[in-house]
Amino acid sequence: MILVVLPSHLKTLAQVSGDVQLEVQGGATVRSVLDALEARFPMLRGTIRDQVTLERRPFLRFFACEEDLSLASPDAPLPDAVVAGKEPFFIIGAIAGG
Protein backbone atom coordinates (compact mmCIF):
# COMPACT_ATOMS: atom_id res chain seq x y z
CA MET A 1 0.00 0.00 0.00
CA ILE A 2 1.22 3.48 -0.84
CA LEU A 3 0.45 6.34 1.50
CA VAL A 4 -0.51 9.58 -0.27
CA VAL A 5 -0.71 12.92 1.53
CA LEU A 6 -3.08 15.36 -0.19
CA PRO A 7 -3.30 19.15 0.23
CA SER A 8 -6.17 20.11 2.50
CA HIS A 9 -8.36 21.48 -0.31
CA LEU A 10 -8.12 18.18 -2.17
CA LYS A 11 -8.92 16.21 0.99
CA THR A 12 -12.09 18.27 1.27
CA LEU A 13 -12.90 17.68 -2.38
CA ALA A 14 -12.29 13.93 -2.09
CA GLN A 15 -14.18 13.84 1.21
CA VAL A 16 -11.33 12.18 3.11
CA SER A 17 -10.15 13.31 6.51
CA GLY A 18 -6.68 11.82 6.60
CA ASP A 19 -4.04 10.44 4.31
CA VAL A 20 -4.98 8.06 1.52
CA GLN A 21 -3.76 4.50 1.19
CA LEU A 22 -3.64 3.21 -2.37
CA GLU A 23 -3.08 -0.18 -3.91
CA VAL A 24 -1.01 0.33 -7.06
CA GLN A 25 -0.78 -2.36 -9.69
CA GLY A 26 2.67 -3.13 -11.10
CA GLY A 27 5.66 -0.90 -10.48
CA ALA A 28 4.87 2.17 -8.47
CA THR A 29 5.60 5.44 -10.27
CA VAL A 30 4.23 8.96 -10.05
CA ARG A 31 2.01 8.14 -13.00
CA SER A 32 0.66 4.89 -11.56
CA VAL A 33 0.03 6.48 -8.17
CA LEU A 34 -1.90 9.35 -9.75
CA ASP A 35 -3.79 6.92 -11.99
CA ALA A 36 -4.84 4.92 -8.92
CA LEU A 37 -5.69 8.10 -6.99
CA GLU A 38 -7.90 9.45 -9.77
CA ALA A 39 -9.57 6.08 -10.29
CA ARG A 40 -10.59 5.98 -6.64
CA PHE A 41 -11.44 9.68 -6.42
CA PRO A 42 -12.69 10.79 -9.87
CA MET A 43 -13.42 14.29 -8.54
CA LEU A 44 -9.65 14.85 -8.35
CA ARG A 45 -9.22 14.54 -12.11
CA GLY A 46 -7.79 17.74 -13.48
CA THR A 47 -6.83 19.13 -10.07
CA ILE A 48 -3.34 17.61 -9.88
CA ARG A 49 -2.48 17.16 -13.54
CA ASP A 50 -4.00 18.22 -16.83
CA GLN A 51 -6.62 15.74 -18.01
CA VAL A 52 -5.32 15.66 -21.58
CA THR A 53 -1.56 16.21 -21.41
CA LEU A 54 -1.22 14.66 -17.91
CA GLU A 55 1.27 17.41 -17.05
CA ARG A 56 1.55 18.37 -13.39
CA ARG A 57 -0.24 21.59 -12.53
CA PRO A 58 2.34 24.36 -12.12
CA PHE A 59 1.65 25.20 -8.46
CA LEU A 60 1.86 21.59 -7.25
CA ARG A 61 4.92 19.52 -6.40
CA PHE A 62 5.56 15.86 -5.59
CA PHE A 63 7.84 15.10 -2.62
CA ALA A 64 8.98 11.82 -1.07
CA CYS A 65 11.88 10.73 1.13
CA GLU A 66 13.10 14.32 1.36
CA GLU A 67 13.41 14.52 -2.42
CA ASP A 68 11.52 16.65 -4.95
CA LEU A 69 10.23 14.22 -7.58
CA SER A 70 8.30 16.85 -9.51
CA LEU A 71 10.70 17.13 -12.42
CA ALA A 72 11.61 13.45 -12.64
CA SER A 73 10.04 11.25 -15.26
CA PRO A 74 6.51 10.28 -14.22
CA ASP A 75 7.47 6.72 -15.13
CA ALA A 76 10.54 6.57 -12.87
CA PRO A 77 10.20 4.05 -10.00
CA LEU A 78 9.29 5.61 -6.67
CA PRO A 79 11.73 5.15 -3.76
CA ASP A 80 11.58 1.73 -2.08
CA ALA A 81 10.43 3.26 1.21
CA VAL A 82 7.39 4.76 -0.55
CA VAL A 83 6.59 1.50 -2.30
CA ALA A 84 6.85 -0.31 1.04
CA GLY A 85 4.46 2.17 2.64
CA LYS A 86 7.07 3.35 5.13
CA GLU A 87 7.32 6.86 3.73
CA PRO A 88 4.43 8.90 2.27
CA PHE A 89 4.14 10.37 -1.21
CA PHE A 90 3.36 14.06 -0.72
CA ILE A 91 1.31 16.18 -3.13
CA ILE A 92 2.14 19.71 -2.06
CA GLY A 93 0.47 22.98 -3.04
CA ALA A 94 2.74 26.00 -3.39
CA ILE A 95 2.75 28.11 -0.26
CA ALA A 96 1.63 31.34 -1.87
CA GLY A 97 -1.36 33.50 -2.51
CA GLY A 98 -3.80 35.50 -0.40
Partner: protein
Protein backbone atom coordinates in the same frame (compact mmCIF):
# COMPACT_ATOMS: atom_id res chain seq x y z
CA UNK B 1 -45.27 32.58 0.34
CA UNK B 2 -42.88 33.29 -2.46
CA UNK B 3 -39.26 34.10 -1.79
CA UNK B 4 -35.87 34.66 -3.27
CA UNK B 5 -32.56 32.85 -3.27
CA UNK B 6 -29.49 34.98 -3.96
CA UNK B 7 -26.47 33.03 -5.22
CA UNK B 8 -23.21 34.80 -4.49
CA UNK B 9 -19.80 33.85 -5.88
CA UNK B 10 -16.77 35.30 -4.12
CA UNK B 11 -12.98 35.10 -4.12
CA UNK B 12 -13.12 32.60 -1.28
CA UNK B 13 -16.29 30.58 -1.69
CA UNK B 14 -19.99 30.67 -2.50
CA UNK B 15 -22.84 31.90 -0.32
CA UNK B 16 -26.57 31.32 -0.60
CA UNK B 17 -28.81 34.07 0.82
CA UNK B 18 -32.51 33.35 1.19
CA UNK B 19 -35.50 35.40 2.24
CA UNK B 20 -39.25 35.41 1.93
CA UNK B 21 -41.04 37.79 -0.42
CA UNK B 22 -40.65 40.73 1.93
CA UNK B 23 -36.86 40.46 1.54
CA UNK B 24 -36.21 41.87 4.98
CA UNK B 25 -34.84 38.93 6.98
CA UNK B 26 -32.12 36.87 5.39
CA UNK B 27 -30.64 33.48 6.05
CA UNK B 28 -26.99 33.16 5.04
CA UNK B 29 -25.53 29.78 4.08
CA UNK B 30 -21.85 29.28 3.35
CA UNK B 31 -19.08 29.47 2.59
CA UNK B 32 -19.50 26.61 0.19
CA UNK B 33 -16.15 25.52 -1.33
CA UNK B 34 -14.28 27.65 1.19
CA UNK B 35 -11.03 29.06 -0.10
CA UNK B 36 -11.84 28.58 -3.79
CA UNK B 37 -12.76 31.27 -6.30
CA UNK B 38 -16.40 31.05 -7.35
CA UNK B 39 -16.63 33.06 -10.51
CA UNK B 40 -20.30 32.29 -11.06
CA UNK B 41 -23.22 30.44 -9.48
CA UNK B 42 -26.51 30.24 -11.34
CA UNK B 43 -29.77 28.31 -11.08
CA UNK B 44 -31.77 26.67 -13.82
CA UNK B 45 -34.87 28.60 -14.91
CA UNK B 46 -36.46 25.23 -15.68
CA UNK B 47 -35.80 23.72 -12.24
CA UNK B 48 -34.90 26.11 -9.43
CA UNK B 49 -33.41 23.30 -7.37
CA UNK B 50 -30.76 22.72 -10.03
CA UNK B 51 -27.84 25.08 -9.50
CA UNK B 52 -24.45 25.14 -11.21
CA UNK B 53 -21.27 26.67 -9.81
CA UNK B 54 -17.89 27.43 -11.31
CA UNK B 55 -15.19 26.68 -8.73
CA UNK B 56 -11.57 27.39 -9.56
CA UNK B 57 -8.14 27.84 -8.06
CA UNK B 58 -4.72 28.83 -9.27
CA UNK B 59 -3.41 25.66 -7.65
CA UNK B 60 -6.01 23.06 -8.56
CA UNK B 61 -7.65 24.38 -11.72
CA UNK B 62 -11.30 24.28 -12.67
CA UNK B 63 -14.16 22.35 -11.12
CA UNK B 64 -17.86 22.48 -11.81
CA UNK B 65 -20.25 21.82 -8.95
CA UNK B 66 -23.92 20.91 -9.30
CA UNK B 67 -26.70 21.04 -6.75
CA UNK B 68 -30.10 19.37 -6.98
CA UNK B 69 -31.50 20.93 -3.82
CA UNK B 70 -31.09 24.64 -4.33
CA UNK B 71 -27.54 24.87 -3.06
CA UNK B 72 -27.87 22.89 0.17
CA UNK B 73 -25.64 20.07 -1.09
CA UNK B 74 -23.29 19.83 -4.05
CA UNK B 75 -21.51 17.27 -6.16
CA UNK B 76 -18.51 17.82 -8.44
CA UNK B 77 -19.35 17.06 -12.05
CA UNK B 78 -17.43 17.29 -15.33
CA UNK B 79 -14.45 19.60 -15.52
CA UNK B 80 -12.86 18.49 -18.76
CA UNK B 81 -12.88 21.51 -21.08
CA UNK B 82 -10.98 20.66 -24.24
CA UNK B 83 -10.97 22.97 -27.24
CA UNK B 84 -12.22 21.44 -30.46
CA UNK B 85 -9.30 20.49 -32.70
CA UNK B 86 -6.00 22.33 -32.61
CA UNK B 87 -6.96 25.68 -31.09
CA UNK B 88 -4.20 27.73 -32.70
CA UNK B 89 -3.39 31.21 -31.49
CA UNK B 90 -4.96 34.51 -30.60
CA UNK B 91 -3.16 37.82 -30.12
CA UNK B 92 -1.29 38.49 -26.91
CA UNK B 93 -1.04 41.91 -25.23
CA UNK B 94 2.06 42.73 -27.28
CA UNK B 95 0.44 41.77 -30.60
CA UNK B 96 2.32 38.46 -30.87
CA UNK B 97 0.45 35.21 -31.49
CA UNK B 98 -0.29 33.31 -28.28
CA UNK B 99 -1.58 29.74 -27.95
CA UNK B 100 -5.17 29.30 -26.83
CA UNK B 101 -5.04 27.96 -23.25
CA UNK B 102 -7.98 27.04 -21.04
CA UNK B 103 -7.84 28.87 -17.71
CA UNK B 104 -11.26 28.98 -16.05
CA UNK B 105 -15.02 29.20 -16.45
CA UNK B 106 -16.28 32.75 -16.01
CA UNK B 107 -19.98 32.26 -16.60
CA UNK B 108 -22.50 29.41 -16.51
CA UNK B 109 -25.81 29.90 -18.29
CA UNK B 110 -28.38 27.16 -17.74
CA UNK B 111 -30.89 26.51 -20.52
CA UNK B 112 -34.26 28.22 -20.24
CA UNK B 113 -36.07 24.92 -20.73
CA UNK B 114 -33.83 21.95 -19.88
CA UNK B 115 -32.14 21.67 -16.46
CA UNK B 116 -29.49 19.36 -17.90
CA UNK B 117 -28.36 21.77 -20.59
CA UNK B 118 -25.94 24.47 -19.54
CA UNK B 119 -23.50 26.73 -21.37
CA UNK B 120 -20.07 27.75 -20.08
CA UNK B 121 -18.16 30.84 -21.10
CA UNK B 122 -14.46 30.29 -20.53
CA UNK B 123 -11.05 31.95 -20.60
CA UNK B 124 -9.31 31.81 -23.10
CA UNK B 125 -12.50 32.80 -24.83
CA UNK B 126 -14.70 29.96 -26.00
CA UNK B 127 -18.21 28.66 -25.49
CA UNK B 128 -18.89 25.15 -24.21
CA UNK B 129 -22.19 23.29 -23.83
CA UNK B 130 -23.25 20.34 -21.72
CA UNK B 131 -26.49 18.45 -22.30
CA UNK B 132 -26.02 15.91 -19.50
CA UNK B 133 -26.12 18.07 -16.40
CA UNK B 134 -22.50 19.25 -16.74
CA UNK B 135 -21.01 15.76 -16.75
CA UNK B 136 -19.41 16.29 -20.17
CA UNK B 137 -18.64 19.42 -22.17
CA UNK B 138 -18.34 20.11 -25.87
CA UNK B 139 -17.03 23.29 -27.40
CA UNK B 140 -19.30 25.19 -29.78
CA UNK B 141 -16.24 25.95 -31.83
CA UNK B 142 -18.02 27.84 -34.58
CA UNK B 143 -17.55 30.93 -32.42
CA UNK B 144 -13.80 30.65 -32.01
CA UNK B 145 -13.36 29.57 -35.61
CA UNK B 146 -15.74 32.04 -37.23
CA UNK B 147 -12.90 34.06 -38.70
CA UNK B 148 -11.75 36.79 -36.34
CA UNK B 149 -10.60 34.57 -33.45
CA UNK B 150 -6.94 34.80 -34.29
CA UNK B 151 -7.11 38.59 -33.82
CA UNK B 152 -8.81 38.60 -30.42
CA UNK B 153 -6.78 40.04 -27.55
CA UNK B 154 -7.22 39.75 -23.79
CA UNK B 155 -8.45 42.58 -21.64
CA UNK B 156 -6.69 43.28 -18.36
CA UNK B 157 -8.70 40.53 -16.68
CA UNK B 158 -7.88 37.93 -19.31
CA UNK B 159 -9.50 36.92 -22.58
CA UNK B 160 -12.78 35.81 -21.11
CA UNK B 161 -16.17 34.94 -22.50
CA UNK B 162 -18.18 36.43 -19.66
CA UNK B 163 -21.71 37.01 -20.94
CA UNK B 164 -24.17 34.50 -22.38
CA UNK B 165 -27.75 35.53 -23.14
CA UNK B 166 -30.32 33.04 -24.40
CA UNK B 167 -33.22 34.39 -26.45
CA UNK B 168 -36.51 33.16 -24.94
CA UNK B 169 -38.41 33.70 -28.19
CA UNK B 170 -35.90 32.15 -30.56
CA UNK B 171 -34.37 28.90 -29.29
CA UNK B 172 -31.53 29.01 -31.77
CA UNK B 173 -30.48 32.58 -30.99
CA UNK B 174 -27.83 33.38 -28.42
CA UNK B 175 -25.64 36.38 -27.63
CA UNK B 176 -22.21 36.27 -26.05
CA UNK B 177 -19.58 38.86 -25.19
CA UNK B 178 -15.82 38.62 -24.87
CA UNK B 179 -13.26 40.96 -23.37
CA UNK B 180 -11.73 42.33 -25.47
CA UNK B 181 -13.21 41.04 -28.70
CA UNK B 182 -16.78 42.31 -28.48
CA UNK B 183 -20.28 40.92 -28.87
CA UNK B 184 -21.35 38.04 -31.11
CA UNK B 185 -24.65 36.43 -32.08
CA UNK B 186 -25.68 33.05 -33.36
CA UNK B 187 -29.04 32.36 -34.98
CA UNK B 188 -28.49 28.64 -35.48
CA UNK B 189 -27.81 27.27 -32.02
CA UNK B 190 -24.12 28.06 -32.01
CA UNK B 191 -23.02 26.61 -35.35
CA UNK B 192 -22.24 29.97 -36.94
CA UNK B 193 -21.61 33.37 -35.39
CA UNK B 194 -21.34 36.97 -36.46
CA UNK B 195 -19.73 39.91 -34.66
CA UNK B 196 -22.38 42.45 -33.66
CA UNK B 197 -20.30 45.50 -32.83
CA UNK B 198 -21.43 48.07 -35.36
CA UNK B 199 -21.93 51.41 -33.67
CA UNK B 200 -19.41 50.76 -30.91
CA UNK B 201 -16.50 53.19 -30.76
CA UNK B 202 -13.44 52.39 -28.69
CA UNK B 203 -10.63 54.93 -28.68
CA UNK B 204 -8.23 52.43 -27.11
CA UNK B 205 -7.92 50.36 -30.30
CA UNK B 206 -6.23 51.54 -33.49
CA UNK B 207 -9.47 51.51 -35.48
CA UNK B 208 -12.10 52.81 -33.03
CA UNK B 209 -15.02 51.26 -34.93
CA UNK B 210 -13.35 47.99 -35.87
CA UNK B 211 -15.45 44.87 -36.40
CA UNK B 212 -13.87 43.24 -33.30
CA UNK B 213 -11.57 44.36 -30.50
CA UNK B 214 -14.06 46.16 -28.24
CA UNK B 215 -13.92 45.60 -24.52
CA UNK B 216 -17.56 44.77 -23.82
CA UNK B 217 -18.02 44.42 -20.07
CA UNK B 218 -21.55 43.07 -19.89
CA UNK B 219 -24.89 42.91 -21.70
CA UNK B 220 -28.49 42.55 -20.56
CA UNK B 221 -31.87 41.86 -22.14
CA UNK B 222 -35.50 41.87 -21.04
CA UNK B 223 -37.20 38.61 -21.91
CA UNK B 224 -40.31 40.38 -23.27
CA UNK B 225 -38.25 42.24 -25.89
CA UNK B 226 -35.34 40.01 -26.82
CA UNK B 227 -34.32 42.15 -29.76
CA UNK B 228 -33.44 45.03 -27.43
CA UNK B 229 -30.01 44.73 -25.83
CA UNK B 230 -28.21 46.95 -23.36
CA UNK B 231 -24.45 46.98 -22.97
CA UNK B 232 -21.95 48.35 -20.51
CA UNK B 233 -18.78 48.73 -22.51
CA UNK B 234 -15.37 49.62 -21.07
CA UNK B 235 -16.51 53.15 -21.70
CA UNK B 236 -20.05 53.90 -22.93
CA UNK B 237 -23.44 52.49 -22.10
CA UNK B 238 -24.95 51.27 -25.35
CA UNK B 239 -28.29 50.10 -26.66
CA UNK B 240 -29.38 48.08 -29.67
CA UNK B 241 -32.97 47.77 -30.90
CA UNK B 242 -32.24 45.21 -33.59
CA UNK B 243 -30.58 42.26 -31.90
CA UNK B 244 -27.17 43.85 -31.88
CA UNK B 245 -26.97 44.72 -35.57
CA UNK B 246 -26.49 48.39 -34.67
CA UNK B 247 -25.70 50.06 -31.36
CA UNK B 248 -26.12 53.63 -30.17
CA UNK B 249 -24.77 55.27 -27.07
CA UNK B 250 -27.19 56.01 -24.20
CA UNK B 251 -24.71 57.14 -21.54
CA UNK B 252 -26.51 60.50 -21.31
CA UNK B 253 -26.00 62.27 -17.98
CA UNK B 254 -24.11 59.49 -16.18
CA UNK B 255 -21.23 60.85 -14.07
CA UNK B 256 -18.95 58.39 -15.84
CA UNK B 257 -19.83 56.00 -18.61
CA UNK B 258 -17.36 53.39 -17.38
CA UNK B 259 -18.60 50.43 -15.38
CA UNK B 260 -19.09 46.71 -15.40
CA UNK B 261 -22.59 45.67 -14.34
CA UNK B 262 -25.84 46.38 -16.18
CA UNK B 263 -29.31 44.89 -15.77
CA UNK B 264 -32.94 45.42 -16.71
CA UNK B 265 -35.98 45.75 -14.41
CA UNK B 266 -38.01 42.53 -14.35
CA UNK B 267 -41.30 44.16 -15.39
CA UNK B 268 -40.28 47.41 -17.11
CA UNK B 269 -38.18 46.70 -20.18
CA UNK B 270 -37.14 50.36 -20.52
CA UNK B 271 -35.85 50.56 -16.94
CA UNK B 272 -32.17 49.74 -16.68
CA UNK B 273 -29.53 49.89 -13.96
CA UNK B 274 -25.79 50.54 -14.01
CA UNK B 275 -23.17 51.29 -11.37
CA UNK B 276 -20.80 53.97 -12.72
CA UNK B 277 -17.18 53.38 -11.81
CA UNK B 278 -14.26 55.75 -12.15
CA UNK B 279 -11.66 54.77 -14.64
CA UNK B 280 -9.19 54.30 -16.16
CA UNK B 281 -7.19 52.74 -13.38
CA UNK B 282 -9.07 53.59 -10.17
CA UNK B 283 -12.06 51.28 -10.62
CA UNK B 284 -14.02 52.65 -7.68
CA UNK B 285 -17.13 54.86 -7.52
CA UNK B 286 -16.67 58.56 -8.34
CA UNK B 287 -16.26 60.81 -5.28
CA UNK B 288 -16.36 57.82 -2.92
CA UNK B 289 -20.17 57.59 -3.36
CA UNK B 290 -21.69 54.23 -4.18
CA UNK B 291 -24.58 55.04 -6.49
CA UNK B 292 -26.74 52.87 -8.68
CA UNK B 293 -28.03 54.82 -11.65
CA UNK B 294 -31.42 54.00 -13.10
CA UNK B 295 -32.89 55.04 -16.40
CA UNK B 296 -36.62 54.63 -16.95
CA UNK B 297 -36.30 55.72 -20.54
CA UNK B 298 -34.05 52.98 -21.84
CA UNK B 299 -30.99 55.15 -21.42
CA UNK B 300 -29.80 58.76 -21.80
CA UNK B 301 -31.75 60.08 -18.80
CA UNK B 302 -30.38 58.69 -15.56
CA UNK B 303 -31.16 59.22 -11.87
CA UNK B 304 -28.92 58.37 -8.95
CA UNK B 305 -30.27 55.87 -6.41
CA UNK B 306 -28.50 56.42 -3.10
CA UNK B 307 -30.83 55.71 -0.15
CA UNK B 308 -29.08 53.18 2.05
CA UNK B 309 -25.85 53.15 0.05
CA UNK B 310 -22.62 54.68 1.42
CA UNK B 311 -22.21 58.25 0.19
CA UNK B 312 -18.73 58.90 1.46
CA UNK B 313 -15.42 57.07 1.67
CA UNK B 314 -16.60 54.14 -0.43
CA UNK B 315 -13.96 52.69 -2.76
CA UNK B 316 -15.29 49.30 -3.82
CA UNK B 317 -15.98 47.99 -7.30
CA UNK B 318 -19.02 46.17 -8.68
CA UNK B 319 -17.97 43.52 -11.17
CA UNK B 320 -19.74 42.57 -14.37
CA UNK B 321 -21.73 39.55 -13.15
CA UNK B 322 -22.44 41.02 -9.72
CA UNK B 323 -25.89 42.53 -10.34
CA UNK B 324 -29.24 40.78 -10.73
CA UNK B 325 -32.97 41.32 -10.40
CA UNK B 326 -35.77 39.14 -9.04
CA UNK B 327 -39.21 38.85 -10.60
CA UNK B 328 -41.44 39.52 -7.60
CA UNK B 329 -44.21 42.08 -8.14
CA UNK B 330 -42.05 44.78 -6.62
CA UNK B 331 -38.85 44.10 -8.51
CA UNK B 332 -35.86 43.38 -6.30
CA UNK B 333 -32.43 44.57 -7.37
CA UNK B 334 -29.21 43.13 -5.96
CA UNK B 335 -25.53 43.79 -6.35
CA UNK B 336 -22.30 42.72 -4.69
CA UNK B 337 -19.07 44.62 -4.20
CA UNK B 338 -15.40 43.83 -4.05
CA UNK B 339 -15.61 44.96 -0.43
CA UNK B 340 -17.80 41.98 0.39
CA UNK B 341 -21.18 43.68 0.69
CA UNK B 342 -24.30 42.40 -1.02
CA UNK B 343 -26.92 45.12 -1.24
CA UNK B 344 -30.61 44.51 -1.89
CA UNK B 345 -33.46 46.77 -2.83
CA UNK B 346 -36.99 45.36 -2.61
CA UNK B 347 -38.49 48.40 -4.34
CA UNK B 348 -36.70 48.62 -7.67
CA UNK B 349 -33.81 50.63 -6.32
CA UNK B 350 -35.51 53.32 -4.24
CA UNK B 351 -34.14 51.98 -0.93
CA UNK B 352 -31.14 49.78 -0.31
CA UNK B 353 -29.85 47.74 2.60
CA UNK B 354 -26.96 45.33 2.91
CA UNK B 355 -27.86 41.66 3.23
CA UNK B 356 -24.28 40.92 4.29
CA UNK B 357 -21.38 43.29 4.78
CA UNK B 358 -18.24 41.26 5.22
CA UNK B 359 -17.99 38.51 2.64
CA UNK B 360 -14.86 38.01 0.55
CA UNK B 361 -14.76 40.12 -2.61
CA UNK B 362 -17.94 39.42 -4.57
CA UNK B 363 -17.48 38.14 -8.12
CA UNK B 364 -21.05 37.35 -9.06
CA UNK B 365 -24.64 37.71 -7.88
CA UNK B 366 -27.61 35.84 -9.30
CA UNK B 367 -31.17 35.67 -8.00
CA UNK B 368 -33.80 32.97 -8.16
CA UNK B 369 -37.42 33.91 -7.52
CA UNK B 370 -39.02 30.97 -5.75
CA UNK B 371 -42.70 29.97 -5.80
Amino acid sequence: MSGVRVLVGTRKGAFVLTADGKRERWDVSGPHFAGWELYHVKGSPADPNRVYASQSSGWFGQLIQRSNDGGKSWEPVGNKFVYDGIPGTHMWYDDTPHPWEFKRVWHLEPSLTDPDTVYAGVEDAALFRSTDGAQTWEELSGLRKHGTGSSWQPGAGGMCLHTIILDPSHAERMYIAISAAGAFRTDDGGKTWKPINQGLRSQYIPDPDAEVGHCVHHMAMHRSRPEVLFMQKHWDVMRSDNAGDLWREVSGNLPTDFGFAIDVHAHEPETIYVVPIKSDSEHFPPDGKLRVFRSKTGGNEWEALTKGLPQQDCYVNVLRDAMAVDTLDSCGVYFGTTGGQVYASADAGENWAPIVRDLPAVLSVEVQTLP
